[in-house]
Symmetry: C2
Subunit: 249 residues, 2 copies
């Protein structure tokens, strides 16, 4: 079934949040075509993923010692009530990822990286072996589309003076690739200079900020429509890649 | 006063945690010379920093609009009880940073970056203007020593095939520099291959892992003794820098 897992991670839950506005635009466009049956929303701020515990680490290490095991077998390796509790929190989150045709991630830049809320989700779902077939070692996310909508206060795009300070989108690209997401299935859309209307020293960049936001909105709609069309068939049958990967705002 | 703020962020609170063992070794060495008066410990897992909220963002944006303000004036800009609550949580954490001569950070690599627990601390203490003198724009952390003790399951050091996947120590170096910490006051000690005794595919690297840990332990003791000697005088009067910056295990 065509499905969309929509994650937001901006601590700002007001209408001021640019990443939340853009992910909502994507989701609205997607649902206008597909309806809400395959749509799932998770607000990582309103409903935060619990921090990892020693029991989570102990269970994860046991998986590593067993050279990984399928998620459905993890329950058999649980040894304590605390580990049982950790797995009860973690397994549904992993299942959400595995069953999503497209994962939409709202990822504002906080202190040059992803927000702590998004990192808490990353740390928990990245359980040893979660996205790998234990028998074939095949990536279970090879057909998953991931749309990252990022927002940042300044300019950090490729070629800018602050490019080297961007530990947000390059990080997510590496992280997603290591989980098995194909490069051609990653789509990054970025709105920059979101603080231009707030910080006095960024006031000269307000028109550039408006242009960045308008461009991001157009890309979001175009990508959402394209996703609606393309997710009808599995990626392995696709001949063309979506053209947004790597493009800044 | 000579002082040490000790932070741990490994979700594994058992004796298995390498980063916790190494930060404890540093702290023990430091306290053996200085006593415990200037020592402060914060466990970011046992006592997690609360996630940011919309009220935190609203107060932060107001600071940005006012072109920053000294931390002591922030309370005057608070407009709601929620913002008051956010500042009541945040201000003591900022004060801890500003009053520490040395900040010791236990930073395990989780999914190629810092742990969500450490990121939650970073996101909260990095309040607009917190570490900048509002009148002179001088960095308030220019004399602060920061010791980062990192641990990671594999090999990500400079020159290794996985160097480009390291969004942990290069990230902290950029983040700390942007907060005003001088490059010569940053000290990184890293234990690698901490999963060699756990994951079967890393078993061939067990002796290399033991060497990495032994080297890290020696560096921790040497640096702690050096810190004990050097923190007697402010950094601006120092002529030599500590030689561990940037060196892997």
């Amino acid at each position: 079934m065509t499905s969309l897992l929509h994650l937001d991670s901006s601590a700002n839950c007001s209408v001021e949040s640019v990443s939340r506005a853009l992910t909502a635009l994507f989701a609205d466009t997607w649902r206008a075509r597909h309806g809400s049956t395959g749509y799932r929303y998770r607000d990582l701020v309103a409903d935060p993923v619990p921090p990892l515990t020693t029991a989570y680490c102990a269970l994860g290490r046991r998986l590593e010692r067993h050279d990984l095991a399928p998620p459905t077998s993890v329950a058999e390796l649980v040894e304590t009530p605390a580990e049982q509790g950790e797995w009860a929190v973690t397994h549904p989150l992993i299942t959400e990822v595995l069953t999503a045709g497209t994962i939409l991630i709202g990822a504002p830049m906080y202190n040059y990286s992803v927000s702590a809320s998004l990192k808490a989700w990353i740390d928990r779902v990245s359980f040893p072996g979660a996205f790998t077939d234990p028998h074939t070692r095949e990536n279970l996310l090879c057909d998953t589309q991931v749309v990252v909508i990022s927002a940042r206060g300044g300019i950090y795009s490729a070629g800018s003076p602050r490019e080297a300070w961007d530990f947000q989108t390059p990080y997510l690209r590496v992280y997603l690739a290591k989980q098995g997401v194909a490069q051609e299935n990653m789509h990054f859309i970025t709105a920059e200079l979101t603080l231009a209307d707030v910080a006095p020293h960024l006031a000269p960049f307000q028109s550039q900020a408006a242009h960045s936001l308008a461009t991001a909105r157009a890309q979001v709609i175009e990508l959402a429509v394209m996703q609606v069309t393309e997710t009808v068939m599995p990626n392995r049958w696709k001949t063309a890649t979506v053209g947004f990967a790597g493009r800044g705002s």
